[in-house]
Amino acid sequence: MTETKTAETCDSVNLEIIRGGIRSIQAEMEALIERTAMSPFIREKKDFYTAVFDASGIMAVCSNNPIFGDLVGPVARDFPLETMREGDLYWYNDCYGSMGAVSHSNDQVFLAPVFLGERRVGFVMSWAHFADIGGLRPGSISPDTTDIFQEGIIVPPMKLATGGVYNDAALTMFYRNSRYPASARGDTRALIASVELGVTRMRELASRFGPACLGDALEQLVFRTRAVVQKCLRDVFPVGTCRFVDRIDGDGHGSGTLRLVFEMTRTEDDHFIIDATATDDQSVGPVNFLMNRDVPGMALGLYFLGGNPDHVMNAGAPRSLDEVRLREGSLLQPRFPAPLGMRGLTMMRTLSALNGLLSVAGSPAPAAHSSYVVVLLRGHVGERHFLMSDGIGVGYGARAYGDGPDGVYFVAQENYPVEFLELEYPVILREYGLNRDSGGPGRWRGGCGIIREFEILADEAILAIRLDGVHNPPWGADGGMSAGPGRVVVNPGTPRERHLKPLSDGNRLVKGDILRIETGGGGGRGHPFDRPPASVLADVLGGMVSTAAAENIYGVVIADRTVDMEATAALRKNRYETKDFHRGSYAHVLD
């Protein structure tokens, strides 16, 4: 680079250039992980993220994922920033030790400071879900766990490399604790290479613009995001308190329905306080979500920034909130060593609950979505053992201007193609399609869930399943209805048919068994009678809505692949009453 600028402050042109530069760094780090990682979890499912931080560890740019906390803080607590040197690299997966920055132990964080000469100019991070890190069952997460020690090895924030020299013993110990050490090794190398690449690129950026200008740019990015989110909070939330309650079906250990209670208070002097202290107590089972205090702000921030490419997600979003109150011993702030492995379903309902808060305040947030479904199948064919971790998509909530997406998992996470799955694992897919009528009806339809039906070719296999929203389906809003629930059935339609508990482990399957998983949808928005008949017809012909539902719920009569306009008009004359929310039935307030 020939151009070196040493301005102390960054002007609006360089700010845009630096922002573009950081985006490229992120894209390059992510591409490297995607191309070199070894476990299907990372390379096909793409469960990985990256972020770039300023010199003091404040997150300046991250992936579009709301589930991030303060990632540098846990390292800085044990390794003061001023003691860090070039070539140092840090590593952890300690949920409690990071106060929820990592929220289950499978997620490994690799983090390194970036130096230009003697001066620290920032940090880069790569993070990915590792397929197996030991613990009670293959895959490390299981509905059966009752403490975090059963969920695999815990790595406290530690220094993995000092001045470029790696602590190989620590890695050897880590690999030895995995049931799939080759994958663990390959994935670790991929993440480290990605961090090293990020360090090089960030150093180049610092040398091109000067550390002061870069530092100022990162600070401006955080400041700008915070300002935008703060303005949106003021526009949406009136002075006073809004409250929303959402539910999960339970912890798989007999808890029954558990409630997540969120309150947003705007004070007279414009302080914004999130209070989730009324949430139910922590659980015996692993559905506890050790929520980092940054999560509500990240989620609200991502909602407010929308798809606007002028802004980036960063620590500015959580800084727009003045306080986040959580209660120790609750589902959202469990005490060590409560198990956390299946926290994903609580996390997804937390996002829905925050959408609910926004809806109560009158902002057109998406209706609720189902929690993505996790399947862990461990078994053997002869002597060969396998672990299949499959993630199955669900329906997402309807927006105020569009249908909820059908059959998606989460940001950036992909499925295993059928052809890949059958090549790699002893299963045959008999069906993979959208789950008809699972999308919550509305003017805008909620997304449909998915049907994935396996035939087991393994001699024997043990199944763990995580599927929520069966008893408490995702709510609809503004007159829209709640989504259809999911279910798990073995050998459907045969004398050997049996229904599995939707959050359970230890389900034995044998060769020839049929495993049918149907996942839930997303809630709808707006009165179903307001959906244009042509859209309902397209849904019926496309297999997303049944003829019966079209008639009974949407008031659209379909015969011979066309809309009977007369009969439809007659039905729609008797328009039913709706209320603000719907979960099974209409209600002005959900509890």
Partner: protein, 683 residues
Amino acid sequence: MSSTDPVSSVVSVAVDIGGTFTDITVQDRQGQAWTAKTPSTPGDPSEAFLLGVSQALSKAGIPSHDVRRVLHGTTIATNMILENKAVATALVTTRGFRHVLEIGRQDIPRKANLYTWIKPARPVPPAHVFEVSERLSAEGNVLIELDEESVREAGRACLSAGVRSVAVCLLHAFAQPVHERRVVGILTDMLPGVTITASSDILPVVREYERSLATVINAQVMPGVSSYVRRLEERLTGYGIAAPLLLMKSNGGVASGGSICRSPATTALSGPAAGVVGARAVAMAAGFSDIITVDIGGTSADICLMKDGAIRLTQHGRIGEWPLPLPMVDMVTIGAGGGSLARVTPDGVLAVGPESAGSVPGPAAYRRGGTQATVTDAHVVLGHLPSLLGGGMDIDVQAARKAIADTVANPLGLEPGEAARGILAIANNAMVGAIRVVSVERGYDPRDFVLVPFGGAGPLHGCALAELVGIRTVLIPPSPGVLCAQGLLAADLRAEFSRGLRATGTPDAVMVEQSFTAAETDATTWFTEEGVPDARREMSRVALMRYAGQGVELTVPWPGTMAQAAETFAAEHRALYGFDLPDATVELVSLRVEAVGRLGGAITRSLPPGQGARATGMQTVLFASEPLETPVYDRTMLGAGDTFEGPAIVTQLDATTLVPPGWHAVMDESGSLILRHKIKESR
């Protein structure tokens, strides 16, 4: 050359149909060229095609029956895909999988926002996806026999849906096409006049969503492309040209009309590919084989790297929203071009693109109604563009200044010149990012390469981009604005023949050899169909390899044995990613035979020696350091060996070149203008 060899230096006609103009180049046996330009006729492009050809031939005084080759680059398939103007199409798939397109990879894209993202409508709605009863295993064994009655039922559904094209993609058909073949047979009988595409013919590789999509895209454009090609061939025959019509593909090669009609999706990126092939030809003629090309048009820029003159192919390309894993030139496209709009965001940040002013209203300086500042307006304000199209069109400097002042300078409190430099800095930075993707990210140091900027706006940005990445040599092609024609004349016949290996793990040598031989047999059949004589056939073997467990393969030339290939692979992995894994198993995932039928290429004629460069005028240019009186040179008046120093501006019919201070220019006898940075870059 003897007349029995159809692929020697012969009279060739190259036709490039753009949105506004159709450009025709005729080249005779000695390499002399004549060009013609005629307005495009979007209603029936073959009208402008034939008019232009007849004009160019009469200019050249060459009778139509002397033409031995007609080369054509078309964006007809591209436009049909991007503008969603393709015909109604059905997809026939395996029972149980009708939502294969709807579900896709079940992700919300990494760059999308969870709260606002709406799933894009698929090219075929689920109501037009029909299932047939059959099933193969991953190894290609029949698990469920094909139920022919279910195929006929699907055929009847196609009939009542009124589709004009059908894509057939069954699970695991890449391993065993027997069921797909039978389905195509039955549907062909049932659906006269309907085109039918089988996935095993288009893209026999694993992953059903991507393969289904490629098959659907191919099917959708097939009727349109077929009738287009047929009409062109009829017009040519009617005009007395019996020569074969060869069309440019996304892989940078050409193929006959017949093979394009079977797999039209292979032309999806033919436009940018033709430019890259043209850039390669002019760079090689000037003695450079390591180049980075930057093709800057009105709305986007395409960036591509060539090492040792080799154009790399990728199977991870995209078209619009969709992945399209057909082999295509490995390039990066970004939304920054001459028409890209500059704006100030509500919180005071200057942003450029991806929105574009297009050709209407266009940049404010063009007086077609544009009022918002564009990249071109920034050039005008800074004095980079004294005139356009060789003086054929006036530039409204005042309008450009006003647009920059209104939309950028005033809101940010800047001088118009500063604002214009800011706009260019941001546009250049986006292009530098793309240059880094094709170089640094692929393990190359951009400073080892020559930059070849082209397209209407390329030569204005070339030196600035070179300075930003530390490149010391910039090559401006003879006709940077119309390089596609050059690319067509220089193109060879190209096709790839892939074989997936069904088993994972290390394959045995016999199986590998058999697979390569099978692919080479296909290639030989293709050579014969295309009429390529033995002496001009070239085949090379490449292997797609990865570490067991990885999801993305690296392409390495096949050195002969698996052990040698593993070494090459490890070296490549180190170069690209910074590490290799000596203990891990290396897998061979698929094989590819790349077939090339050499057409002889463009013949370059040397430029007559110059009489010394003489400026034809002066222009004030606002460089960052200071305003400088800058000489303006007319490109047509420069001869071989002529030299001059920057600052300078070089004008020609199709582009304007900006030579900043610190650069030295020399006209190469190949006709290219070579710019060298005078201060040697320290490394």
